[in-house]
Symmetry: C2
Subunit: 415 residues, 2 copies
């Protein structure tokens, strides 16, 4: 593997080339890569088999083993993702405003790529193709570092991509992969300020925290979701049951799954047993405060720690409150700035919740599971930002761009 | 001084209050603070006199002493800045898009404050009022930490602001000031991730580097400007002389001043003597490469180090090139991503320069000195961003906002 310094310098150079590559060349390359991924599915599956063998030796959990496994369907899915990207509008090159100043200068803001985007991710090898596709479409060079569990799969996918780009006559340094599993390279990457414009960590809380705490390169924090649903005193109980069941159990291991309920005491006695009935059909463990237990004795006591826990499992916490204000305070205290929902028939409470909850996505009468680039209509996503600067919520191609002011003058000087 | 933990928690609480405070209350408070700053100018000047006395004891440079000094005119300027802010449109609360999804969910993006903004700055005490005003107008609580040189002035200004807010019935924790000069508080502030949403350093390269390298709170990097002007082979030489003279000498200590010339060799023999003639009327030291010296023997040899130096002084470097490509490569290698300008009469070269230079602001035929919030028509600025994420170039009120997705449903669940 070349040095990270060299990898960064090469990526920077390639990013300048890619920033001015026309959209037809970018789209055609995406389509070619998509075809080549399908044509090389046996090659990719063979590499994936090595990762799976190693994972089995290490007794990897079945759910993680499933995420790691590449089938023909998943490989076709990767290719299809790239084809969808090829169809989207070019996210760069538009001048979004161009206005004259009194002195005659014309000032416009042009969308341009960020430059070099580093992505550090875990397990799922299809992220390799997704991340490359999003960066490439938006004119960014990328430096990728996947989990060591999926190293053989990732390297194979990157090889297919670079061979394909090479055949298109494209500078292959637009994609780099850190093959050496030594963690010192992650540390080095996080300090490559001269060559890397932004780092996006995708994965568990530990990975994200490590990057946020140690990177001097700007970071876009993604991911962890301690999402709440608040059942207002004026809720439609049937809707609450349906939405909570969906948000908790439709897919448990994702960041937009519901982890905690907050319920107004005036509706708790009626609503809680029905909610627990539904959750128990999927054997969800329900942990709650004292009042919630008095409403349904299938609930076990929650501790303070539960309010801040993202279970990613068949577990949910229940907190009862005396008012919507108490609900909002509780959610704003324990949430991770991801997705929060209120179930209510009351106009004022819906507006109050939308206004006062501090999170990327705030819902009225809907499941938190919709926080997702495809569901929002963005086409594809590089992650879900839980920080406030640059991008918030599902990040599509636009999140991989910035602006450059272009200014046309005819000799203006400042007086 | 209260603990930073407490200061952060209080600021966070105040930010929730301020985020939903109506625009009339915010504007009226800004006007009241403006009046009170003028009414208390003697009090502020008395505090400022202590800082000046101390600075003189420490043999502060005259240019810095001038920046530190508050006159009636400057105090009126601070107040006027707040009055201008009160007149600007509310930057928060707008829902910029609201579209239905096929499943009936209505998804909109609402502009909201960032939350708590920390600003670390040096010397000029008027930044205290400016920074407060920008944060307050945009619904953000602020935590300020000014230079120890201006501590008495800053504390006096903050006292006038908080007294004024208190009389308006506004939570005074919307502004906090770190009065203890111990640097450990700056370090602590840079790790207050739970309570601080973004840190903006304003000042010299050392301050900015310290914050970028050590903060775990997201940073918006501002400031340093190694700005170039490229004199193309097809330049109008008279325009080049006029623009370069302005960009270098109109104000030397600012980040948008020109620090380096790049000149095509085919025009160098004609252009350089005229440029040096003009610069010498202000005794500018001109340092250049061998070919530039062969064009004008008043130029002294430059070293490699000069290409990357932001002089902030009556000094300029001159690099001669054989082509516009070489000029672009040189500028992209040594610039700080601030402001770059080309002087040319050629259509293709103007477009090439605008497309290929990687900087916040790229000019054709104009002085780099226009990179400034007021000159761009943004009204006021919190700094000039030289990074690519969140904001780039002059940052007005919009840079202090983020978005929140608001989603209206009627029971939607994800299939």
């Amino acid at each position: 593997m070349k040095s990270l310094e060299q990898m960064g310098a090469d990526a920077r150079k390639a990013s300048k080339y890619l920033a001015v590559l026309d959209i037809n060349s970018r789209n055609n390359a995406l389509l070619k890569v998509a075809d080549d991924i399908v044509n090389n599915s046996d090659y990719i599956k063979k590499a994936n088999a090595l990762d799976i063998e190693e994972a089995k030796k290490n007794n990897m959990k079945p759910s993680l083993l499933d995420r790691l496994t590449l089938t023909d369907e998943r490989i076709n899915g990767m290719a299809e993702g790239l084809r969808v990207l090829a169809k989207l509008d070019d996210p760069i090159g538009e001048i979004t405003s161009m206005k004259p100043r009194p002195n005659g200068l014309m000032i416009g803001a042009k969308t341009v790529p960020l430059g070099v985007v580093a992505i550090i991710y875990e397990s799922r090898p299809n992220v390799t193709a997704d991340a490359f596709g999003l960066c490439f479409k938006s004119g960014n060079a990328c430096i990728l570092r996947g989990g060591s569990d999926s190293i053989n799969s990732n390297v194979a996918i990157v090889k297919v991509i670079t061979d394909s780009l090479s055949e298109c006559g494209i500078d292959t340094n637009v994609i780099s992969y850190i093959t050496d599993p030594d963690r010192k390279y992650v540390t080095e990457l996080m300090h490559l300020n001269e060559y890397v414009d932004v780092i996006i960590p995708r994965g568990g809380a530990g990975l994200i925290k490590n990057v946020v705490n140690n990177s001097t390169v700007p970071v876009i924090e993604t991911g962890t979701g301690n999402c709440h649903i608040y059942v207002d005193e004026f809720a439609d109980i049937d809707m609450a049951v349906k939405v909570i069941f969906n948000a908790k159990t439709q897919r448990i291991g994702v960041c937009n799954a519901c982890e905690s309920l907050v319920i107004h005491k005036d509706i708790a006695k009626q609503a809680i047993p029905k909610i627990v009935d539904a959750l128990k059909t999927k054997n969800v463990l329900v942990k709650g405060d004292e009042y919630s237990i008095s409403c349904d004795d299938r609930i076990v006591p929650a501790t303070q720690e539960d309010w801040g826990t993202e279970y990613l499992d068949y577990i949910i916490s229940v907190k009862t409150v005396d008012s919507i204000d108490e609900a909002i305070d509780h959610i704003n205290r324990y949430n991770t700035g991801h997705s929060e929902s209120i179930i209510t028939k009351d106009y004022d409470n819906s507006r109050k919740f939308l206004n006062e909850i501090d999170a990327a996505c705030v819902y009225v009468n809907a499941s938190t599971r919709f926080t997702d680039g495809f569901e929002f209509g963005f086409g594809a996503e590089i992650g879900i930002s839980t920080q406030k600067i640059h991008a918030r919520g599902p990040m599509g191609l636009k999140a991989l761009t910035t602006i450059k002011y272009v200014i046309y003058g005819d000799g203006q000087i400042r007086e």
